[in-house]
């Protein structure tokens, strides 16, 4: 680690689980506060996504980072049972990705990117047609 000292900061084995737990808890807290001021479905999507992400970041990812659960890699031998490793891998993928999807949808609805910005002026406001009265 002599020439990667700075880059190894992001992956220090002892700090990373704590960092992930803190981030997950903060994410849940802030999303809950944000959801209090928004509409029903926006709040539901935001809170559901943040709960999934919080569970993933505060429980599952620290277990992976601390080495309690073995990482799943295709074509590798495991110390424990392979079924457990595969099941945890599936749980992690489902929780994290569904969490990001729901959270992104909720934030997108919160930012109102699905509603058109302003009602367009009607087409009949134009008083002429270019194919008429060319004399």
């Amino acid at each position: 680690m002599s020439d990667g000292g700075f880059l190894a900061l992001g992956s220090i084995a002892a700090v990373r689980p704590v960092f992930l737990i803190v981030m997950g808890v903060f994410l849940m807290l802030i999303a809950w506060r944000l959801a209090k001021t928004s509409g029903v479905w926006t709040a539901r999507l935001l809170v559901a996504g943040a709960l999934l992400l919080g569970f993933g970041y505060a429980v599952i990812m620290p277990l992976f980072a601390a080495g309690v659960i073995e990482n799943y890699l295709p074509g590798r031998h495991y110390h424990g049972s392979a079924a457990t490793v595969v099941a945890w891998h599936l749980v992690r993928m489902a929780v994290m990705n569904t969490g990001w999807l729901l959270f992104g949808l909720g934030l997108a609805m919160h930012a109102k990117i699905f509603s058109s910005p302003a009602p367009r002026p009607r087409a009949q406001a134009r008083s002429y047609s270019p194919h008429e009265s060319i004399t």
Binding site: L7, G10, S11, H89, M93, G99, W100
Partner: protein, 113 residues
Amino acid sequence: MNPLHEIILKNGLLFDVLGVIGLGLLGLAAVKLARSHQSWGGSMMAMGAIALLLARLYLVLAPYFINDDVLGSIGPIGISLTIGLPPLLLSLGLASIVWGLWGHERWLHDENR
């Protein structure tokens, strides 16, 4: 390879696509927030989403092109980059998304008061 692994690999691609769509929506929403509200949290969130997307792209693509020849040609600094950079990007992306969300929420709170 037994059928369970094949099912999980196929579903893994599906789940990865879901996560990438979610991160893209998050980035879009963050850019919209930053443009319409002039809130710095939005641009912070957009940077975090980009960092997470980059790290995820690398993690998805790495098994296809990283082999011993590539590792030998990029040298020890490159190898330590491939080891150190994805967790750094993941950590920084998560941190800036949470920080940006906090900033946006506090800004919204100040605005409503």
